[in-house]
């Protein structure tokens, strides 16, 4: 489990490094701003279910901290979940979660980008930022 986490963490770091080498990722100061804005959104909309430690609620609400899928490269999946909510019973790292999640399609592209960037870079998580453009692209396909 731990090894898997470390491994996926390394993969993310590696791919982040490769990306920034390839096409000059957004400056670090913008990520910081996005994280701070995302933190405020998290406190308002996400905290009650996903909790202040990002641990979720066993059996009910999915954990975000330490969850492989949250720091994975498939950002479109995370964007879709925020837009459409969740009503399936899902497996995350060997445990099952089945509570209903509210859709948040009323949030702006930048807000979704910020909250996901925060979630991917808070607690023990460390992963690349999500941009408003990425949210916009997924929103276009999800409608």
């Amino acid at each position: 489990m731990k090894i898997k986490l470390i491994f996926s963490g390394m993969l993310v770091l590696l791919s982040t490094a490769m990306l920034s080498a390839q096409k000059q990722a957004a400056p670090a100061v913008d990520i910081k701003k996005s994280i701070e804005s995302g933190r405020a959104i998290y406190m308002q909309l996400c905290l009650t279910c996903h909790q202040k430690d990002g641990g979720g609620v066993p059996h009910l609400n999915a954990p975000l901290d330490g969850a492989t899928a949250v720091v994975a490269n498939d950002k479109a999946k995370l964007i879709r979940i925020v837009l459409k909510g969740m009503s399936d019973r899902i497996e995350i790292d060997g445990e099952y979660y089945s509570n209903t999640m509210t859709p948040h399609s009323d949030m702006k592209d930048q807000q979704i980008a910020d909250v996901l960037t925060f979630v991917r870079n808070n607690w023990t998580n460390k992963a690349s930022a999500v941009s408003a453009a990425e949210v916009k692209a997924v929103r276009g396909k999800t409608k």
Binding site: M43, L45, L47, T48, C49, Q51, K52, D53, G55, G56, V57, P58, L60, N61, P63, G85, S87, R89, S98, N99, T100, M101, T102, P103
Partner: protein, 433 residues
């Protein structure tokens, strides 16, 4: 003349039965249970003076409800992973020191409910109920599994099926509502309530079945009580000869209707409620919630409520209301003789602990006691066993060390508590020290 003879016979039978049951729940037998002593740290629990606790088991896979046989063996319903293919464990203590050293199992399904009555053990998955015949040593007889109830709704929300029997051959099963408040879109901000709520036809209530009939489903049972969002803890009160249940109250008042409710309203207003049920009762879900501060049934915002309008004229009142979201997962009326007199006939309630109170601090994660006489509470609730969670204000559902979820009474009057976070089983005893 015949009548007098009949009454005499009845009197004899009743006397015999009473003395028998007095034996079964009588004082601690010397030798066997006399050797049971609390752990040095009372297994980490904070208890009233004179009580002690020991760890009976640890690391089980999400143990939910538990039952103790008349011989003192502990039966545990697992809801995590099957243990060597088994979903019900029997923990047997060969040495009599209260630390079981022999584990066997049966049943190839996970679930929550388990109870023992009249020589049978009953256990549930999330859609079925089985029973097993016990031999005179309290062991499950191989091949005796019978499916008595099948086809109950399981939509992965409030899916656990708790079970209890009365003294007339009936079994009661909770069928939780697969919804928070019967909105057109579950847990979506501003979504209206469905009228009438169609969920109540097959869930959101207690169903009564025969304890000895095979393969019963909805058509064979009776919807005994309705308007109950989700019951996990339930017990039969022998003094009142009545079913008592603990309802998990609704979530998300603030996030679904921010115009009418604050975070604090959500954390405090929709009580966790205990009901004494008669056949045909309606407890009011989803149309109302119960405000524990004002003791009023309030119209739910999905049905036109605004935090001020009352509702539920045809709904029963609770026997007791508890703070919101603490998640009562087990109820047990204490009939043993080990604990001091004030506990006799009173209610123990295991509160699994809250999550929906956030961002306010979490509550619960303890076992509560309420004094009762003849099926009526005679005093306020008090915390009986605490120290399960350990984290103080930093507490979250994930970091809680333990979460109480099941209760059982041993033949000597010990109180057993299960925890589905780390899989610990506690045994609380009275030592007077």
């Amino acid at each position: 003349m015949k009548k007098i003879f009949y009454y005499l016979c009845m009197l004899l039978i009743i006397t015999a039965l009473t003395s028998l049951s007095a034996c079964a729940s009588g004082p601690v037998k010397p030798g066997k249970t006399g050797a049971v002593v609390p752990d040095a740290d009372n297994a980490g629990l904070k208890l009233p003076a004179g009580f002690g606790a020991l760890k009976v088991a640890d690391g089980l896979s999400k143990p939910r409800h538990i039952a103790v046989s008349p011989q003192g063996d502990l039966f545990v319903k697992l809801n995590g992973k099957l243990s060597a293919g088994k979903g019900v464990l029997r923990l047997h203590d060969t040495k009599g020191d209260g630390k079981p050293d022999e584990t066997t199992g049966f049943g190839n399904y996970t679930g929550t409910g388990i109870t023992i009555k009249n020589g049978y053990l009953y256990a549930s998955s999330d859609q079925e109920v089985f029973r097993y015949k016990l031999n005179d040593k309290g062991e499950v007889i191989d091949g005796s599994e019978q499916k008595i109830i099948t086809g109950l709704i399981n939509r992965h929300q409030h899916e656990s099926k708790s079970v209890v029997l009365d003294d007339a051959g009936n079994i009661y099963v909770n069928i939780g509502a697969y919804s928070n408040s019967c909105q057109e879109n579950d847990r979506v901000t501003g979504s209206k309530g469905r009228m009438p709520c169609p969920i109540l036809d097959s869930a959101g209530g207690i169903w009564q079945f025969k304890a000895d009939k095979l393969n019963q489903t909805y058509g064979d049972g009776v919807r005994y009580a309705t308007g109950l969002r989700n019951v996990v803890g339930l017990d039969w009160n022998k003094q009142a000869n009545k079913l008592f249940v603990m309802q998990h109250g609704r979530d998300d008042l603030h996030s679904l209707f921010p115009a009418f409710y604050t975070d604090q309203d959500n954390a405090e207003k929709p009580a966790e409620t205990m009901y004494a049920l008669n056949k045909g009762d309606n407890a009011g879900w989803p149309y109302i919630y119960y405000d524990p501060a004002t003791n009023k049934k309030m119209l739910a915002p999905e049905y036109g409520g605004d935090g001020k309008k009352e509702g539920g004229k045809d709904a029963i009142d609770p026997a007791i209301a508890f703070p919101a979201h603490m998640a009562p997962n087990a109820l047990l009326f204490y009939t043993g003789n080990m604990f001091p007199a004030k506990y006799k006939n009173g209610a123990f309630i295991a509160f699994h602990g809250s999550w929906n109170r956030a961002p306010l601090p979490q509550e619960g994660y303890f076992v509560v006691f309420v004094p009762f006489e003849n099926g009526k509470p005679t005093g306020k609730w008090e915390v009986f066993a605490d120290g399960f969670a350990e984290k103080g204000d930093a507490l979250t559902p994930r970091n809680a060390a333990h979460r109480p979820t099941g209760l059982a009474q041993g033949p000597d009057g010990s109180l057993y508590v299960s925890d589905d976070q780390k899989g610990t089983i506690y045994r609380i005893i009275y030592t007077g020290k």
